[in-house]
Amino acid sequence: MCGICGCSEEVTTQATSRQSLLNYIGHTQPRSGMALLQPLLPGQEVPISGDTTALLSAAGSPAESTRLIQVERSIQDKNNHFAKRNREYFQHNHIAVLNLLSSPGSGKTTLLVKTLTQLKQQIEMFVIEGDQQTQIDADRIRATGAAVLQVNTGKGCHLDAAQVGTACAALAPSPKSILFIENVGNLVCPAAFDLGEQVRVVMLSVTEGEDKPLKYPDIFETADIVLLNKCDLLPYLEFDRAQCLAAIEAVNPRAQVIWMSATSGLGLSQWYDFLEGISRV
């Protein structure tokens, strides 16, 4: 029995082909006739009809005169509205914007510090930092001489487009500059929130393991570029490079991949070339 969703399909342990890799992540959708989730309260019916499975919360009160209002609006309208406004502002001012996503500690800030130090004579760069708490990352960025604004989300697990818009109003990135948005360290939630960026960069450090693109497909699927960081540590790890590339290919064949080490400098020239390319557009 599959240990992922309880179905009777076999899941291979030797993930060499794309299809066998997809076996790890294919068991995410309800099979016909199978209720995907249980309702919150015991005893609630989960009616299944045709292609839909309805999930119900607590029952309502006894019958009274009611009317139906059709709404048909995406609940992500609000974030998408702010993202669209951000995108228009960035495009109008020729600001190239990158949204950097990864788990905590993969090396985003270290890469930014290296980038800002290396390219500051050629390109004007600005940074929005996102963390639950502290100014630690903003202080590291500020030490390079770059303008930075720290957003502390408190309990929030991701940056959203409204926060980015507010931050830009305060930071005022210059026309024809590059704006880096270092998102909250999290391989899950930030995937769902368009910030209005031009390029979505997902970083994975090799110490995290080659299977992460399969385990966290949502975020890797949205990436324009995948940075594989901390490659200076490869001699000390049992990291399968081919498996990692295959995993990325399985969820996002269009993503550009750059192997790098932000601390040793390995692979950074390819990253700098990319940034110089988008800053000229």
């Binding site: 294919g26 995410t28 607590a58 309502g60 209002i69 048909e72 609006r73 959203d160 769902a192 399985a250």
Partner: protein, 113 residues
């Protein structure tokens, strides 16, 4: 979890629509959720009551209707239903194929009085 902030947006939208319709109470909220939205429906159910407290949506029944996913092959233009997240075209085996719908999270309707 990000469903909390989405729940806040949902409750704000419900309150806005209900107020515009001069409703005094929201009885049922019907949502459509595609299988590839980055949203866990049980988390929405979990957050909803807490977020809705003190608003017109308080006490409403939340109905989440799971909708099917459809995709279009950019190579052979074949439209197909999707049962797996990262599947290749069922006709020509091309990958990746483009999602037509399946990642939506929509406030479909309200039942109010």
């Amino acid at each position: 979890m990000h469903e909390l902030s989405l729940c806040r947006d949902l409750v704000a939208m419900v309150a806005e629509v209900a107020a515009a319709e001069n409703a005094t109470k929201v009885k049922t909220i019907s949502l459509e959720l595609g299988p590839f939205a980055h949203i866990e429906p049980n988390s929405i159910l979990f957050c909803f009551d807490a977020v809705a407290e003190g608003t017109l949506a308080a006490g409403a029944k939340l109905e989440i209707i799971r909708t099917p996913a459809r995709a279009l092959c950019p190579k052979c233009r074949h439209q197909q239903m999707l049962t797996e997240r990262f599947q290749s075209c069922e006709l020509c085996d091309y990958f990746p194929i483009e999602l037509v719908n399946g990642n939506e999270f929509v406030l479909k309707s309200l039942e109010v009085c």
